[in-house]
């Protein structure tokens, strides 16, 4: 199965409904299959800026101020989530206010006001998000963004979802209106609603969105991402209290593929997000107190708010494997990098034991059911499943995992994962010195806050500190944080 594409001119508008008649809440996810990959060259950030200006803007009749004033007593919300391939307008309202809210939501989406003032405010926010927040004040976010920049060099996924500084500065109000006309089309749209809504509202929704132009935006062709050659490293230099590291490489599987579910078990064993189940977490934080956490992923992952669960509607046709090493004191940074790659290599070479396989599979069968708590999350997950052309994600997990054998998992690991050709982003201060240390190939021992006495640990430390990384010397560079994401 492959991800579904944008619809042709004759197809009816797609709906994704999840009725829950007893719920007092109604959740909307109005999605367009248009994203940052649709930004024209030189106008990077256009999709995100358009989405933000719509969601934080007015309707033809009402200014942003007037919309806000009306939404406020309802405590209802309208937000935009602009990603690589999808842009989703997320709304939540109590059923008591559904009719009034529906007017505002459809007004905003179908008759966006595109005020100069809203445009300017949104652009300032996105520029500050790059120039101030990302470059200066969020080292972990910077590490993840730098990884995409390096790993997807030359690919439509390379740029930030919110674009570049120069791209954002070049965008005009007319550019946004043109982008809206291109993307807000019936063939791109998926109208998602969950909760206690009356069916009459669904008819209204279908009729109202029929006012959009038929057909859809031609799908952006995605070439295979470039092949990485050895360990490629981008040091991002800035004043930083500790070193943040992200590691990754593109993989050829998504939720549509059978192998995804085999990899899911292996990945959970290696580094399930924010749990103590993963090897990385236990070996790096648990045994050595290196940092706050160490996790791995087989698809693009963003944590949903304060939960530990994945945010929905960031689906992509191509995915990557990633390791996230949370900030490590500078002297231990290269030890941490070596340890993470060594753990990955051990997984690739040795696979899981039958006990680890059984325990992890059992865990995932129960744990994955927690991912769709709440109306809006459940709806978003359903829409993602439709994007991938597969059954409801959680049901697919329940179907695939019981069929798996240990050999399937270990074979899938060998097919898709490896520890040789890696992109590595390292956010740190004094990057040149760290680069020289890395290139020297010399051991990089751990410095404990309090020395350990465990002989087993000390023995493993010695193996880790000199674990050979196949560094590609031609592809190791230092960039200043202040220069990244400029254009």
């Amino acid at each position: 199965m492959k991800p579904t594409s944008n619809q042709g001119a004759e197809a009816p508008i797609r709906m994704s409904l999840l009725p829950s008649p007893s719920s007092p809440l109604v959740a909307f996810r109005i999605q367009f299959r248009c994203g940052a990959i649709n930004d024209p060259p030189g106008k990077e950030g256009l999709n995100a800026l358009t989405a933000m200006t719509i969601a934080q803007g007015g309707t033809r009749e009402l200014t942003y101020q007037e919309v806000t004033e009306r939404l406020y007593p309802m405590a209802a919300t309208i937000d935009a989530q602009a990603d690589k391939e999808l842009t989703t307008f997320i709304g939540n309202v109590h059923r008591d206010h559904l009719k009034a809210y529906y007017d505002l939501l459809t007004g905003i989406l179908l008759q966006p006001r595109f005020d100069e003032s809203d445009f300017k405010r949104s652009r300032d926010i996105l520029l500050a998000a790059i120039e101030t927040n990302l470059r200066g004040n969020d080292d972990e976010g910077l590490g993840k963004a730098a990884l995409q920049w390096l790993m997807y060099d030359g690919h439509p996924y390379q740029k930030l979802d919110i674009g570049t500084v120069q791209g954002l500065k070049s965008i005009t109000l007319d550019d946004m209106k043109a982008h809206y006309r291109r993307c807000a089309a019936q063939g791109n749209a998926v109208l998602g609603v969950a909760g206690g809504f009356p069916m009459g509202m669904v008819d209204s929704l279908r009729q109202d969105f029929a006012a959009l132009p038929r057909g859809g935006t031609p799908e952006v062709k995605l070439e295979k991402p470039r092949a990485l050659s050895g360990v490629e490293v981008m040091f991002v230099e800035k004043p930083a209290p500790a070193t943040a590291i992200s590691i990754g490489f593109p993989i050829g599987v998504t939720r549509a593929d059978k192998d995804f579910y085999a990899l899911m078990v292996a990945n959970s064993y290696l580094g399930e997000h924010r749990t103590f189940n993963g090897r990385l977490m236990n070996k790096m934080r648990g045994e050595r107190g290196l940092n706050y956490g160490d996790y791995s992923y087989i698809e693009n992952f963003i944590q949903d708010g304060g939960s530990t669960f994945p945010v929905p509607n960031i689906a992509r046709r191509q995915q990557y494997f990633g390791i996230w090493i949370r900030p490590v004191p500078h002297p231990n940074a290269l030890f941490a990098l070596r340890q993470a790659v060594r753990e990955l290599k051990m997984l690739v070479d040795g696979g899981l034991s039958v006990q680890d396989f059984e325990a992890t599979r059992k865990f995932l069968l129960n744990y994955s059911r927690l991912w769709t708590q709440g109306l809006s999350r459940r709806l978003g997950t359903k829409m993602d499943s439709e994007f991938y052309g597969t059954k409801f994600f959680i049901d697919r997990i329940q179907e695939e995992l019981p069929r798996l054998k240990l050999e399937d998992v270990n074979a899938a690991v060998k097919r898709h994962l490896q520890a040789v050709n890696l992109a590595v982003a390292i956010v740190t201060e004094n990057a040149s010195a760290m680069k020289e240390t890395l290139l020297s190939g010399k051991p990089t021992p751990i410095t404990y806050q309090t020395p350990t006495t465990s002989e087993a640990l000390l023995k493993e430390d010695r193996e880790i500190e000199s674990f050979p990384l196949p560094i590609n010397r031609e592809r190791v560079r230092v960039v200043k944080a202040q220069e990244l994401f400029e254009k």
Partner: protein, 474 residues
């Protein structure tokens, strides 16, 4: 050429006229209490409170243990951040269930489990299949009564806490929070953040003995509550609680938190930030403690909405119309003891900081003299009520909300009392609260900005977000 947008608009207008014939006006439902689910509270003989909230979430339970001790309880010098550190140690196991065994059993259940610490409390939470309730209670009661860890494990965990400090330290919010508390408070333990002063975090490996004392003082049944939301039978829960927690012995320790003397003159602090940034303006006014009987803090909650919500005239002026700031938040977070009404603005141009400060100050002054129109107050009350109702959509979110009120007052019913106070608040109440709390002499102002050539490493601190959301085990 026809503008497609206009065409779209015209089509929509045609449909607008008829589309609500089949659906539309709903009668607002709901009872008089803001918390809509039944709550059963039982106090065991040893003082442990057991709270059951049946909630339509078939097959799942949110199992929370609330310890009414947070960074507020760190009264000894050099011990800031200890409640949070101790939260980490609670995952290091017991003789019966060492760390690996504890994790393996919860892994088998497919549980999501973690913990967080705030100024006033520490919460341990598990979300898992209801069929695992007895297993969870076996594990949780065991570690609350029989926690045991080695000195080496203790020291290693200190590394993870330093890592948590480091992960937050690149954000200015942490530093702002650290600085404003340190300046605004002279005696009360709210002087330090939940994660603690960096010097104390670095000294944690040397505090093993103190950690045993901390456990002995606060991890006692009379200081804790069990809260279970979801697919739970209240009677069975109480029976199981007696079985698993009945042997937990009461403690004797009574903490004395130093009272904060009245601030008599304005304090101002400037912070140099090593990375380029727009300046942050952080203003803190000493406010009241949380109360579900007195009007002061609820009235300030309304002030937070009247000035800093997206619909507020001040917000519209500074953020939407003049576009002087790109971030504006303000409010008095609930605390057991008097805390701050804190306002944070990120100002787009450094030279406009004084203007923004003056504008915010003037808006606070206006509250003292100009009565708030009744219809605006009505909208704020409606917003608060619906906002709360919309947040209760999962067993986990219901538990999180009640845990907050249990931590503050020991009584989950406090939430209904507070929202009842909101309903009764008059324009006069708002004016009185503004007069009482927004005095220039009682405020602390921190301005964080980047100066070219500022030394690297000037930042540090855990902070504003941590105070609001707590800091977590992983």
């Amino acid at each position: 050429m026809t503008d497609p947008l206009k065409l779209v608009a015209a089509l929509v207008l045609v449909i607008l006229g008829t589309r609500f014939s089949a659906w539309g006006e709903e009668t607002p439902r709901g009872g008089s209490k803001v918390f809509p689910y039944p709550v059963q509270v039982t106090v065991l003989e040893n003082g442990l409170k057991v709270v059951a909230v049946p909630f339509d979430n078939p097959g799942l339970v949110a199992y929370w243990t609330v310890v009414r001790a947070g960074s507020r309880n760190e009264i000894e010098p050099g011990k800031s951040g200890f409640a949070h550190f101790f939260e980490h140690m609670m995952f290091r196991g017991t003789d019966a269930y060492p760390r690996e065994r504890y994790n393996a059993i919860l892994k088998e259940l497919g549980a999501d489990h973690n913990a967080f610490t705030t100024d006033d409390y520490t919460a341990y939470h598990v979300l898992a299949p209801a069929s695992g309730l007895e297993t969870i209670m076996t594990l949780e009661s065991d570690r609350f009564m029989n926690l045991k860890y080695t000195v080496e494990d203790f020291k290693k965990e200190a590394g993870a806490v330093l890592g948590e400090y480091n992960k937050n330290a690149s954000s200015p919010f942490q530093t702002l929070n650290e600085k404003i508390r340190d300046a605004a408070f002279t005696a009360h333990t709210y002087k330090h953040t939940t994660i603690g002063f960096l010097r104390d975090v670095k000294d944690m490996p040397n505090q093993y003995e103190y950690s045993l004392q901390f456990f002995d003082r606060y991890y006692r049944p009379e200081n804790c509550a069990l809260l279970v939301v979801g697919d739970v039978d209240p009677k069975r829960l109480v029976d199981l609680a007696r079985k698993f927690y009945g042997g937990w012995k009461r403690g004797t320790y009574q903490v004395e938190i130093p009272a904060e003397p009245r601030q008599t003159e304005e304090k101002r602090v400037e912070v140099d930030w090593p990375n380029p940034t727009q300046p942050y303006l952080d203003m803190g006014y000493h406010g009241p403690a949380f109360s579900d009987t007195q009007v002061d803090l609820p009235a300030l909650d309304l002030v937070s909405q009247l000035l800093f919500s997206e619909a507020a005239p001040l917000y519209q002026k500074l953020v939407v119309v003049e576009q002087e700031v790109d971030l504006l938040i303000g409010g008095a977070a609930d605390h057991r003891d008097p805390y701050l009404f804190e306002i944070i603005a990120r100002v787009k141009k450094p030279e406009r900081v004084a203007y923004v400060e003056a504008t915010i100050t003037a808006a606070l002054e206006d509250l003292k003299t100009k009565p708030i129109p009744a219809d605006r107050l009505g909208k704020v009350k409606s917003h608060l009520k619906y906002s709360y109702a919309m947040g209760l959509d999962t067993a986990g979110s219901v538990a999180r909300s009640l845990a907050h009120y249990i931590a503050l007052t020991s009584d989950p019913e406090a939430v209904n009392r507070v929202y009842a106070i909101y309903d009764r608040i008059t324009p006069e109440d708002v004016r009185n609260a503004a007069r009482r709390y927004f005095a220039r002499t009682g405020r602390t102002v921190v301005i964080l900005s980047h100066k070219e050539g500022a030394p690297a490493g000037a930042q540090g601190g855990a902070g504003a977000m941590a105070a609001a959301a707590g800091v977590t085990a992983r």
